[in-house]
């Protein structure tokens, strides 16, 4: 190991140069780094919310309603198909994750099963599974004359995935409508979404924006029962809805909406007679449907429903075919502005609850980063004094290697776009200690070998060679710990795991390669009889 091949030397130098290049932008201010030409490395690692201040919210989708909706669809299809094919059925009901019914006529069970299977097939299949094969979302089970159509695990997974996929986009539009904030939205697990908003310390507004699904629908109202009470039993095809906040009373509306919010293309808060209202615009399909309904239902009330509450039910005065309309209600300027924003962003596919929230004020973050930087710089300085004090020139070599260890760490973190957190800084400081350990192992081994009677050269060689297994074994175990922290940890702990694993990995290279190159070239240059880590005369060479 006393030889350094030209290839090793050049590749080590290349790694160092690249590390410097990629770590470099972090020393610049954010704006300068962004103004660099694109061919120059300009990526910086980002600071965690605990360092720059901001809000972290963990949202969970309420999947129950989504599942119920999708089952309702299956039930309606089953009823329709069975009726069309004149198959008798009874006891149609919801069971856990499915719909069940009986075919009392024994001769018709097979036919009923066929129908159920077709409904299950039509209700959807999703891609998935190991080979991307299409999987059934519903399965049909027959026991005697009892038939059950049930969501499979793949079905639940597909519902979850669809809901979260849609929600992520809509959440972004709601929280960051202008697209100017650096909002991070990521999926966590099956039904959760992490939202991170830097620079925000009051989460009340964010919670308002994500707390409602904002599902808007337009319904016709029952022609005769115009003032129902909460005890009114809705006739078939109708449902009873409450008035929104400020709107007294109840409404009997047609179960199926005539039109819904998906056809909206724009919504704005405006004023009419000094009161805040919302103007909206439909897409072409929406405009056509709206035109037709308003033509056919003049002088009848038309209910505008938001999340199952009736905002208002104005009486249609004339046909509206221009594709735009207005919503009046008991709005304040604030609530109208927010509702317009929510309508523009679209309805969330499910209700989302905030299940975890963490906010760090900007000053606390600044304090933390200052303390962290001071502590780590002081740590590095102390380690330098310690190592040079103990091993002299060789200690200096170790510190050079250590410095490059930090630079490589910064470079890799920038390349990965990793996030630096406060525990992450602690991880870096800790990996300093681990990194010096490799040098200590090598140097102590050299000292032993010289005492055992080796020449300087062969002691250097043996020091590197024999320390290698201990260094690699201990580093690999540390990397295992770091990776597990990354896999199972959340938030700041994840950041810690990343920096620990990268730091230890980098130290493997620097402590062995860089130290070796330095020691070898030092030896070639001076051909010393003694190592700086030994007392003269200790060697028996």
């Amino acid at each position: 190991m006393i030889n350094v091949t030209r290839f090793q030397l050049w590749s080590a130098l290349l790694v160092c140069v690249f590390a410097l290049l990629f770590a470099g932008p972090n020393a610049l201010s954010e704006r300068t780094a962004k103004s660099l030409p694109s061919w120059v490395p300009h990526q910086q690692f980002s600071l965690g919310l605990d360092l720059q201040g901001g809000a972290y919210l963990l949202l969970e989708a309420e999947m129950k309603e989504v599942v119920t909706d999708s089952l309702k669809n299956v039930r309606d299809q089953l009823r329709k198909s069975l009726r069309d094919q004149r198959v008798r059925y009874e006891e149609m009901r919801y069971v856990a994750r499915g719909v069940a019914f009986r075919a009392p006529d024994a001769a018709q069970v097979d036919k009923a099963r066929e129908i159920a299977e077709r409904v299950a097939r039509d209700a959807g299949s999703g891609s998935g599974g190991v080979f991307g094969a299409r999987q059934q979302l519903y399965e049909v089970r027959v026991e005697g004359n009892a038939i059950t159509v049930r969501l499979t695990n793949a079905g639940i997974a597909s519902l979850n995935e669809r809901v979260i996929d849609q929600a992520m986009e809509i959440l972004r539009k709601r929280i960051d409508p202008e697209g100017t904030r650096e909002v991070t939205i990521q999926r966590q697990g099956d039904t959760r979404v992490i939202v991170e908003v830097p620079g925000v310390s009051d989460t009340a507004e964010i919670r308002e924006r994500i707390g409602t699904t904002a599902k808007m629908t337009f319904h016709l109202v029952h022609p005769s029962i115009l003032a129902p009470t909460k005890d009114t039993l809705p006739p078939p095809g109708y449902k009873l809805l409450k008035g929104a906040k400020g709107e007294e009373g109840y409404y009997l509306v047609v179960d199926e909406p005539e039109l819904d919010g998906t056809h909206l293309t724009d919504a704005q808060q405006q004023f009419q007679d000094g009161l805040p209202i919302i103007t909206f615009r439909f897409d072409t399909t929406g405009a056509r449907i709206f035109c037709k309904i308003t033509q056919e239902n003049i002088k009848k009330p038309f209910a505008i429903v938001l999340d199952n509450e009736v905002i208002s039910a104005p009486v249609i005065q004339s046909a509206i075919c221009g594709g735009s309309g207005i919503i009046q209600g008991r709005f304040t300027v604030e609530s109208a502005t927010r509702l317009a924003l929510l309508l523009r962003a679209g309805a969330l596919p499910a209700k989302f609850n905030v299940v975890e929230e963490r906010t760090v004020g900007a000053t606390l973050g600044a304090d933390a980063i200052e303390a962290g930087i001071w502590a780590s710089m002081l740590g590095v300085a102390l380690v330098a004094v310690y190592m040079i004090g103990a091993y002299g020139l060789f200690g200096f070599f170790a510190i050079v290697a250590l410095t490059f260890n930090l630079i490589i760490l910064a470079a890799i973190m920038s390349l990965l776009g990793a996030t630096l957190t406060l525990p992450g800084i602690a991880g870096i400081v800790l990996s300093l200690g681990m990194s010096v350990d490799a040098n200590v192992l090598i140097y102590e081994r050299m000292r032993e070998e010289i005492r055992a009677g080796r020449t300087t050269l062969s002691a250097i060689d043996a020091g590197f060679r024999r320390a290698f297994t201990a260094i690699s074994d201990s580093n690999i175990t540390s990397i295992i710990a770091g990776l597990l922290l990354y896999l199972f940890g959340s938030g700041p702990v994840k950041g810690f795991g990343v920096t620990l694993a990268i730091g230890v990995g980098a130290s493997f290279f620097t402590a062995i390669m860089l130290t070796r190159i330095q020691v070898v070239y030092w030896w070639r240059l001076l051909r010393p009889k003694y190592l700086p880590i030994m007392r003269r005369g200790a060697a028996t060479a």
């Binding site: 605990d50 969970e60 310390s201 989460t203 609850n353 905030v354 299940v355 975890e356 929230e357 906010t359 760090v360 000053t363 606390l364 933390a368 303390a371 502590a375 780590s376 740590g379 590095v380 102390l382 380690v383 310690y386 190592m387 004090g389 103990a390 091993y391 200690g395 406060l422 525990p423 602690a426 991880g427 800790l430 300093l432 200690g433 681990m434 010096v436 350990d437 200590v440 102590e444 055992a452 009677g453 043996a462 201990a470 074994d473 201990s474 175990t477 295992i480 710990a481 770091g482 597990l484 922290l485 199972f488 940890g489 700041p492 702990v493 795991g497 620990l500 700086p532 880590i533 007392r535």
Partner: protein
Amino acid sequence: MALAKYFPHATKIDFVGARYFAFSLTLLLFIGVIASLSVRGLNLGIDFEGGLLIEAASKQKIDIADVRKKVGALNLGDVQVQHVGGESGIMIRAERPPGDESAQAKAIDAIKKALGPGFEFRRQEFVGPKVSEGLFRDGMIATGVALLLIAIYVWVRFEWQFGVAGLVATAHDVTMALGVYSATGLEFDLTAIAALLTLAGYSINETIVIFDRLRENMRRYKKTSFKELINISVNQNLFRTMMTGGATLVAVLPMLIFGGESLFAFTLAIVFGIVTGTYSAIYVSSSLLIYMPHIRRWREEKDDKGAATAKARA
């Protein structure tokens, strides 16, 4: 410079001979830890317990009794109020405010309102019950899996006896650190799990360095007794152990002093881990090997043959 040259070498401390003393010390500490864990338990943070936390600062001195009265009127269940960072800062923590997640979010807003103007809110957090359970479970899984994987790695690189010994030693250190959290009442949160895993990494690092030397010596000195081999290996590594422990201590010490409150518990656990890690590498993992059955003496490899004969026996 290069003070290392004046340090002692070829120490011949009889570590193995003192093992019964060490064993009783370990046993005593272990009983203490178990007692503390069962009587005092861990001071679980909101990460694992659920609940809410608000940290606020003011330009003036904050009257804590006044804050208690204001917050107490909100009926949030068990609420703790204490100063942080001097008399102009407070931390309010409600462990299990009644109601679900949305009630907790509302409780935060209510507290902020009740405190009135003049406060700067430095930190506010709430963790819902469902999440905190998950976090605790994930943390425990991470620690368990890490210990296991590390043991398997040691098994593959050495022999199963070494894997078991390493696992016991690491578990020993993690348990001791839990004891420190329990005895001092330091908050046990996600960062504490990170500290435990880091400490496990450090501890196994110490153990492996000694194992590595032990393996080498087992190949070299065929006739020396196992106890003697352990003594030789530990003594040969003694200075290295001190140096590395010292370097790591020196690196983390500024964090302990200047790192602020959030890193204090973490750093303290690491400092403690450096001590127990060194201790357990000698007295738990290596000593356990004495009582393990059938440890194979590695076959002499060609590479080591020359070196072994060239060397005088220690």
